[in-house]
């Protein structure tokens, strides 16, 4: 048996909250689409950390499975997202989100 962890669950939750918030700041204030993308990855990772911590707390594997799925979806998302970015960069020669506003006229 693996004994109970030394660091209580709530520490992991607070850390996850801090990382998630930093990710939110990145998405909202940065202009480069790539950095926004990275910030989204950061938010996903914060949630993953929280999942794993809860999973450990309850002693069940379901949280791990969720993280597994999140990783798979993140991989798919990055592949498509970066392809879109490359396409945008080819057409408009910029990766900044506030320069890409064709729909606004």
């Amino acid at each position: 048996m693996i004994p109970a962890p030394v660091v209580p669950l709530v520490c992991y939750q607070i850390l996850a909250a801090i990382l998630f918030t930093i990710g939110v700041v990145g998405v909202l204030v940065r202009r480069s689409a790539l950095i926004i993308f990275m910030s989204i990855e950061l938010m996903l990772n914060a949630v993953n950390l929280s999942f794993v911590a809860f999973s450990r707390q309850h002693g069940t594997m379901d949280g791990h499975i969720f993280v597994f799925f999140v990783m798979a979806v993140a991989a798919a998302e990055v592949a498509v997202g970066l392809a879109i970015l490359v396409a945008i960069f080819r057409n408009r020669d910029t990766a900044n989100v506030d320069d890409v506003r064709l729909l606004r006229g």
Binding site: M1, I2, A4, P5, V6, V7, P8, L9, V10, C11, Y12, Q13, I14, L15, A17, I18, L19, F20, T21, I22, G23, V24, L28, V29, R31, S32, L34, I35, F37, M38, S39, E41, L42, N45, N48, L49, V52, A53, R56, G59, M61, H64, F69, M71, A72, V73, A74, A75, A76, V78, A79, V80, L82, A83, L85, V86, A87, F89, R90, A95
Partner: protein
């Protein structure tokens, strides 16, 4: 007793430091590297939580594949840091305000005793196989079999989508 607490503090510190650096660094390649730092320290935290399989997967998939893809695109397109760094005008202030609201809300949720009774109590001990590939496989291929299969279809769609999007148009 002291070692896990020290490791947690170290990984948490590195993660937060790298995350802040990532959001406010101008050079996108440095941002990507700092994010790799965050991912590696989260992998370390996974090990502290006895999730050895996920820790390896985190390094392999996130740091080893996804971030290399990021770097590849950064170098291929030769994207420079944006200037000004942050969005102009009201969006910036609103963004930070919104982030603070989100953080307070998250803290409220985490610290409120109704959400997680015994959240402050020590976690139970778990069997040695906890977080091992065998344990994950057993659950993944029984309870979560259909989501797993759907994920494979999702990945296939993503592959095709990426090829279609990134391909130059003929003629």
């Amino acid at each position: 007793m002291l070692i896990p607490a020290f490791l947690f503090a170290m990984f948490a510190g590195v993660a937060i430091g790298c995350a802040v650096g990532m959001v406010f660094h101008r050079n996108p390649v440095h941002c990507a590297l700092l994010l790799v730092g965050v991912l590696l320290s989260i992998s370390g935290l996974f090990i502290l939580l006895n999730a050895s399989f996920l820790a390896a997967l985190q390094v392999l998939v996130y740091a080893g594949a996804i971030m290399v893809l990021f770097l590849f695109v950064l170098m291929l397109l030769n994207i420079r840091g944006e200037s000004p760094l942050l969005t102009r005008g009201a969006a910036k202030g609103f963004g930070i305000l919104f982030a603070i609201v989100v953080f307070v809300e998250l803290l409220w949720t985490v610290l409120s005793p109704q959400v997680e009774p015994g959240g402050m109590a020590a976690s139970p001990s778990v069997p040695r196989s906890f977080g091992s590939p065998a344990a994950i496989g057993r659950v993944l291929y029984t309870v979560w079999l259909y989501p797993f299969e759907i994920t494979s279809i999702l990945l296939l769609i993503a592959v095709i989508g990426a090829v279609v999007l990134a391909k130059r148009k003929f003629g």
